[in-house]
Amino acid sequence: MFTPEMLESIRKVEATRPARMGMEPRRMTAEEKDALLRAYHPDYRTDGFAEIQIGPNKGQKAPTELRNLLHSNSRLLGQDIDLQKIDYDVDVLVIGGGGAGAAAAIEAHEAGSNVMMVTKLRIGDANTMMAEGGIQAADKPGDSPVQHYLDAFGGGHFAARPELLKRLVMEAPDAIQWLNRLGVMFDKDTEGNMITTHGGGTSRKRMHACKDYSGAEIMRTLRDEVLNRKIPVVEFTSAVELIKDDRGQVAGAVLLNMETGDYLVARAKTVILATGGAGRLHYQGFPTSNHYGATADGLILGYRAGVPLLYQDTIQYHPTGVAYPAQIYGALVTEKVRSLGAMLVNVDGEAFMHPLETRDVAAASIIRECTGRHKGVTTPLGSGVWLDTPMMEEIGGPGTIEARIPAMLRMYLNYDIDMRKEPILVYPTLHYQNGGLEINGDGFTKTIDNLLVAGEAVGGIHGRNRLMGNSLLDIIVFGRNAGKAAAAKAKAVDLGTMNLDHIEAYARELDEAGITEPGVSPLLLPRYARHER
């Protein structure tokens, strides 16, 4: 279903393919990468950001859409919520139903805690479910956690918090083993060796995968384990505010039944925010690869309660989102496509970059090709470049695509595009929130000692850019650690009198900062419904 212009360009891609098969494009130097990012990465577009005027990060910038949610009041402001009527009373409250939340709940349960999960959609409706490419761990001879550290630290522009990154890489093999023992079906050869590939910016082949359903396979296994353990999961119920006590601790959350509109009170000795990312805020108008509920709710709840953000101004645009057809615009095309040999090629059939640069560099390079050099392919919604998928079949042999990336093949076949025979059109899509709430090595926030954060809502693990396969890893490593730490901490917590004073204090701060028409947050769900009036 390609346009005539696209078909003409495909012929050029096919013409250059034999010559490209044997060559490896040069990797950019550090200086070239810096210059490229400054000129073309969306993080450097000043008009996409605004200054935060209140709270711990006052004076710093954030994406405008996030800043506006931070400059908003609680939906509970002025509401009379009876905190004495307690609907749920637990040791550990996990907010969020993705991979980090599920891993935390399993470990808290394993530690003997009375743990409960709440999630505004269903357990498993999360970015974890949609992660395709894989999960990193340095578990092969010739690789080491130290090498993994170097790759991630450099890929993240030397900004990762060392104590967090250390945990990520040192506990990675253990995370894979834990998942494997739960029954996750990793791609293995007949001897049991993990089949591993490169990701952008890796120096060793340490990407473990479950075809291109890596996150789905992990998530459905974790969900099954949560259900087998009979851990209560309250679905279609969002946390709209943290409850604090008169000792400065967190004491639970006010919940909202998404279907009835009723408020509920959950009291907890420790709370884990595992609310995920923010793709559905569509920063700078980008489409997103994220799930429906990715609206940064946990960042808002945490910030309003006084927890600082870290690197909230750095966003990951996945270089290869779907540019065409319109029905799947912005959907993720896994990096594994490039790991398995597909090149990025412009309208004239030229390979304009090494396919395995880090994500920020690759995204900026594609944007440059389309907007700076005008070598993109025009699409109904903008432009894109080719990802030369037939190369995968030539390199790996016929059947490679069906065996290794069946989800991608299926997604395109729905629209009569056979990526085994024709290349596909891609453009960067809003993919990941590099920043988030700041935690210490054990997962606790630095301002409230019984509040923990895990998963994409955390800032600082990856620095200012994240490598492929390190997010599935971080949700497991930091999710498990948060669950264990929260269970242990809960034994020592003595809660005082619960209150919501902080939301009134926040309203006063907004007022004093001259923010006269604040909105209401967290957003909970994006506003996609079209209303004519």
Partner: protein
């Protein structure tokens, strides 16, 4: 002027642009989705949908996020289906035929109608993976069911009341845990780390100044 088509959500007609998916068409019509919408990219199974084109007899199943609207489409979403998941402790199970007989005995009531396969939104051979499960061929069941997103359309259509996605899930967990051979390099690396073999090295790299890290990073060798 963009092309419009008539679609019917729960029997009510709406005129929507022809290039939308069922999901985005519902939003175009003014629906704010809470149920029946998850990842929006075909991985989570939240948006199981059943439809029939006006004038045609055939009843079709699909994912609303992955299916384009058509003229005369009568659409009903199935945001929840009471799939019957059995609970178990995976540590107590063993990968044999017995486990399926005990946990999901209804699979032996399959009448071979193939309605599950026909209903599969992922085009999986569902009846075949149930047959593998019946025979205790868990690895084949796991492979054949691997791309399942758990939308439940198969179970909706099954006259034998089988919860197919749950059967596949059990087979996959048993395969991943017990049948697939152990990754020895993984076991060894975990032991090395627990024995403290990397403790000094990681502390050293954590202490290095940024300039030295940049040098190391920019000149590291990359495995071919």
């Amino acid at each position: 002027m963009e092309k419009l088509v008539n679609v019917y959500f729960y029997g009510k007609r709406y005129e929507v642009p022809a290039d939308l998916t069922i999901m985005t068409a519902m939003e175009y019509a003014g629906y704010t989705l809470t149920r029946g919408c998850g990842c929006r990219h075909g991985f989570c199974g939240a948006c199981a949908t059943i439809y029939r084109i006006k004038g045609k007899n055939e009843l079709k199943t699909c994912l609303a996020c992955q299916t384009q609207v058509q003229e005369g489409m009568y659409v009903a979403s199935i945001p929840f289906f009471p799939t019957d998941k059995r609970t178990y402790n995976i540590e107590d199970l063993r990968p044999n035929q017995q486990v399926m007989m005990e946990l999901y005995p209804e699979i032996y009531s399959c009448i071979g109608c193939n309605a599950c396969t026909k209903a599969c939104t992922q085009n999986l051979n569902v009846m075949q993976y149930i047959a593998y499960a019946q025979r205790g061929e868990l690895e084949q069941c796991a492979e054949e069911s691997f791309d399942c997103v758990g939308c439940g359309c198969c179970s909706v259509r099954c006259p034998a009341e089988i919860s197919h996605p749950m059967v596949g899930l059990l087979a996959r967990r048993l395969t991943g845990k017990y049948i697939a051979p152990e990754a020895k390099h993984l076991t060894e690396r975990v032991e090395e780390i627990h024995a403290g073999q990397y403790d000094d090295l990681i502390e050293q790299i954590m202490q290095k100044p940024i300039a030295e890290m940049q040098e190391l990073y920019n000149h590291r060798d990359i495995e071919k």
